[in-house]
Symmetry: C2
Subunit: 307 residues, 2 copies
Amino acid sequence: MKNLTLKQFRYFEALARHGHFGRAAEACAISQPALSMQIKALEEELGAPLFERDRRQVRLTNFGEEIALRARDILRALDDLEGFARASRGRLVGRLRIGVIPTVAPYLLPSLIADLIRLHGGLDLHVRETLTPKLVQELNDGRIDVAIVALPVSEPSLTEAPLFTEEFVLVRPRADEGQPVPNREALREMRLLLLEEGHCFREQALTFCNRPTHAAQPRGLLDASSLSTLVQMVEAGLGVTLIPEMAVGVETRSASVSIARFTNPKPSRTIGMVWRTTSPLTAQLLQMSETVRRSAGALGQAAAARA
Amino acid sequence: MKNLTLKQFRYFEALARHGHFGRAAEACAISQPALSMQIKALEEELGAPLFERDRRQVRLTNFGEEIALRARDILRALDDLEGFARASRGRLVGRLRIGVIPTVAPYLLPSLIADLIRLHGGLDLHVRETLTPKLVQELNDGRIDVAIVALPVSEPSLTEAPLFTEEFVLVRPRADEGQPVPNREALREMRLLLLEEGHCFREQALTFCNRPTHAAQPRGLLDASSLSTLVQMVEAGLGVTLIPEMAVGVETRSASVSIARFTNPKPSRTIGMVWRTTSPLTAQLLQMSETVRRSAGALGQAAAARA
DNA sequence: GTTTTTCATAAGGACGACTTATCGTCACAA
DNA sequence: TTGTGACGATAAGTCGTCCTTATGAAAAAC
């Protein structure tokens, strides 16, 4: 009973509809004997005649009628499946689980999500915000499909696609407005407020200052858990901090702080998408990276215009 | 896209469940390469990867998950279909369209229907009552599955199975009770009330009397459309009539008429089932004829006991 | 009686699916 | 670093399945 085939169902359906072996065979684009044999095989598999053959006509038996109903259901489900497959060719479909680091998420996600929904209607988007190492782990475990992090990640199993590079800007109290912009050495002497450990942005900031990234920080109690908190701490006069360009608009809009850009050398980070090299979404993710690159470019230009 | 096979769905489902080519292949009782090839073929047909292959695991893609849902639906429908086929092996199932002549229907149908329902629960029984020629036509057209008529029908395309033979009895006014039973010749001189033309029972009665069956009947206006009417006409003193043994119980219960049985020669008819020789229900109909034969036998004995 | 129609059967050939054997790659361990 | 094992992909060959054309059988139509 395990040798029923969809082909048999298709032939059967055709014969049921036409009531004539020759015409049904023609409709199936096969020869009449081929159809006869498949029908016979189907009847043997099912253990009962599906048709009553007569010189004058070929009629479904009761049994055949019931089987026809069920067979048509199956063929319809098959058509649906094929249609679904056709419709999802090369498109992002269903669930997309995306991970984003905290220093990117609040600034990139709104436009990113809007773009994705616009381009891939019906996409079931799951967003997860956490630190890079966790995202890498989750990528490797297949718990998320793609992550947006600072490059490089340098995981052999992952493919990286750079999206954009952005500078870090100095955030200092409004009172410092107009003061000369410190260079790296001067910055090292200032009270630099940082994110908690684990944030890649923390390490990048420290690296820019040429400070040991893993050395104990005496004022660890002041480490913030978000850029927003950092800016508020600056506003409160606790020190200065760095934030990425992308965050300037959101985080300094309503804060009385002063923004200054470094010159020579300029601190910066490259944000990129990463995914498992083996991911079948590779093509779509590459396309998606293009989209993000464009919309991030627009974002950057807007930020630059603001500055 | 027209080469999707149920086999591929079964393999696919197994791989989705096991997440491991080797074990899935084992579950399908095939070799691992065979499974690999079918999965590959399926992915090519659908135009998108179903699995993400990794050294560590084999995971469904989003696309694969959706396809898995639909494939499982199809496999489930297939199982149902197979189960239905298995369950209906050799049994009467679904609709059974049965035609019965009017001089049999009222007396046989109650017990026949009860028997059929008892033996083939869920049978969708359609009963049609009309004259023999129409029943034969409907049989040949496939509009009914079986008919119960007086034999012989002598249609080459139909198979006949006798059920029982029953005598005709004379029905005359109560006043005639105890009078000698007329023989055929005497009967010919009496006012014999008959059914309308077309009823085989009419022809059989006339044949018994040796009257021309197709000759114009001067008192055609008196022809009745049912045995019940005939008996009432006898009761009204319009003449005498013949009715089949089977009808005696029902038709004379509440009528003040007298019943007499002929002797030597006894008029009689043979009731039988007929169906298309090509009908796939042949086996079941034969079995059914056995059942009817038995229950009609009981009926006949009861009638004989009453007489 | 002959022809036509229609479905079943027969014989042969092409294609597809399965098998075993082997490869390539990564992970893990010495 | 270098085996070693696990795992999936690939290769080659065989066998079975399904299709084709040709033919048969039986009834209907002419």
